[in-house]
């Protein structure tokens, strides 16, 4: 079970800057463990963000995004009190959604 994300969404004018930290190994599939065995790839492939339930961002990632990924973007037309939710999905098919309120 993946750990929760940390989401910060801050309103500024008619926009909200969103900063997200995700807890994920982002294993490339190219590293070997101590015994020389390849560590299988395991990384987030898709990220979506919604504002009050409406999708505002879709992104696709490869294995070269860093471990415990950071993402920053800016939503137009967002105000304090709005709900921002982020969903990721990884190569194992695991997914996680977390929500934050714009402050």
């Amino acid at each position: 079970m993946a750990d929760p994300m940390r989401i910060r969404a801050q309103a500024s004018g008619d926009k909200a800057v969103v900063r997200v930290l995700m807890s994920h190994e982002m294993e490339t599939g190219q590293r070997k463990d101590a015994s020389g065995k390849v560590i299988p790839a395991w990384y987030i492939t898709d990220v979506t963000a919604s504002l009050n339930g409406k999708v505002v961002l879709t992104a696709e990632w490869g294995p070269s995004v860093s471990k415990n990924p950071f993402l920053q973007f800016t939503i137009k037309g967002a105000k304090a009190g709005d709900k921002v939710s982020i969903t990721w999905k990884d190569t194992k098919g695991d997914t996680r959604t977390d929500e934050a309120t714009v402050s």
């Binding site: 750990d3 940390r6 930290l21 995700m22 807890s23 415990n68 920053q72």
Partner: protein, 267 residues
């Protein structure tokens, strides 16, 4: 050319300190890099996890750690980190953050402390201790380090820790002091804090636990010191040993007055 370049860098990275101009381009580049990473430290993920673990009922006794005494009374977390290691009358020992947390997990939750100490990094309840330590440290963010020297045993540990700090050994004659005994030195591109005195706010003792970019996880001071001794080509220190606690007392007391940035972000 160089001025233009630096200005462009400034504009790109946002409002970052302008001290680069006095440094060589490589150092300036590294500072720019660190400034870009400052916002969004993955240690926050560990901190949040630690807070949950602190409040959760866990272990054979199904109890939370909310009555754990970290030195400022049962359940007081804020400000505890900056006063550790310290002497605890109930164990008769000087304890650092991690060993004290294990005492609480043992006494309050019924875990086997000796087992936790023997557990490898990143496994089992060792993960819990690291997350708890990260949470507890974060609750003292911005506070000044004031590791106590009131008790005789605390002063004893300082003196012993100092001796360990200056002990050369191994195949390379390295001591802690070899790298951390002077001002303004670097190993490769990394600044080496002078740990024989207050190393500043974001270096050495006041910065750990820290998220290490190179390993992609949070290291507590126990882990940090363990890997220092590995690089020193020493045998391995026992987790939670008095030697490490004494060394921590020495580093902590020297850092008194520095503002804690733990959990910080490190290379």
């Amino acid at each position: 050319m160089r001025v233009i370049h630096l200005l462009a860098g400034l504009a790109l990275a946002g409002a970052v300190a302008g001290a680069w101009a006095q440094k060589n381009p490589a150092e300036a580049g590294i500072e720019e890099y660190r400034a870009m990473l400052a916002d969004g430290n993955p240690a926050e993920l560990t901190e949040a996890k630690g807070e949950d673990l602190w409040k959760q009922k866990r272990g054979p006794k199904n109890a939370s750690l909310e009555t754990c005494d970290l030195g400022k009374g049962p359940g007081v977390v804020k400000g505890a980190f900056v006063e550790l290691p310290r002497y605890f009358p109930d164990t008769g020992k000087v304890q650092d953050l991690e060993t004290r947390l294990i005492t609480c997990m043992e006494r309050i939750q019924g875990f086997n402390g000796a087992e936790i100490m023997k557990t490898p990094w990143g496994k089992g309840e060792k993960v819990t201790v690291d997350a708890l330590a990260t949470y507890v440290a974060g609750q003292s963010r911005g506070m000044a380090i004031k590791v106590p020297q009131d008790q005789p045993m605390e002063r004893e540990y300082y003196e012993v820790g100092k001796r360990i700090f200056f002990t050369r050994g191994g195949t390379h004659d390295f001591a802690c002091a070899t790298c951390h005994g002077q001002d303004g030195k670097r190993i490769r591109m990394q600044d080496l804090p002078n740990l024989t005195k207050n190393p500043g706010d974001n270096a050495g003792f006041p910065a750990w636990p820290a998220y290490r970019v190179s390993t992609g996880d949070v290291w507590t001071m126990q882990h940090r010191l363990n890997d220092c001794f590995r690089q020193q080509r020493f045998p391995e220190p026992n987790y939670g040993s008095d030697a490490l606690t004494a060394l921590s007392v020495y580093l902590g007391v020297n850092a008194n007055g520095a503002k804690s940035t733990a959990p910080a972000l490190k290379r």
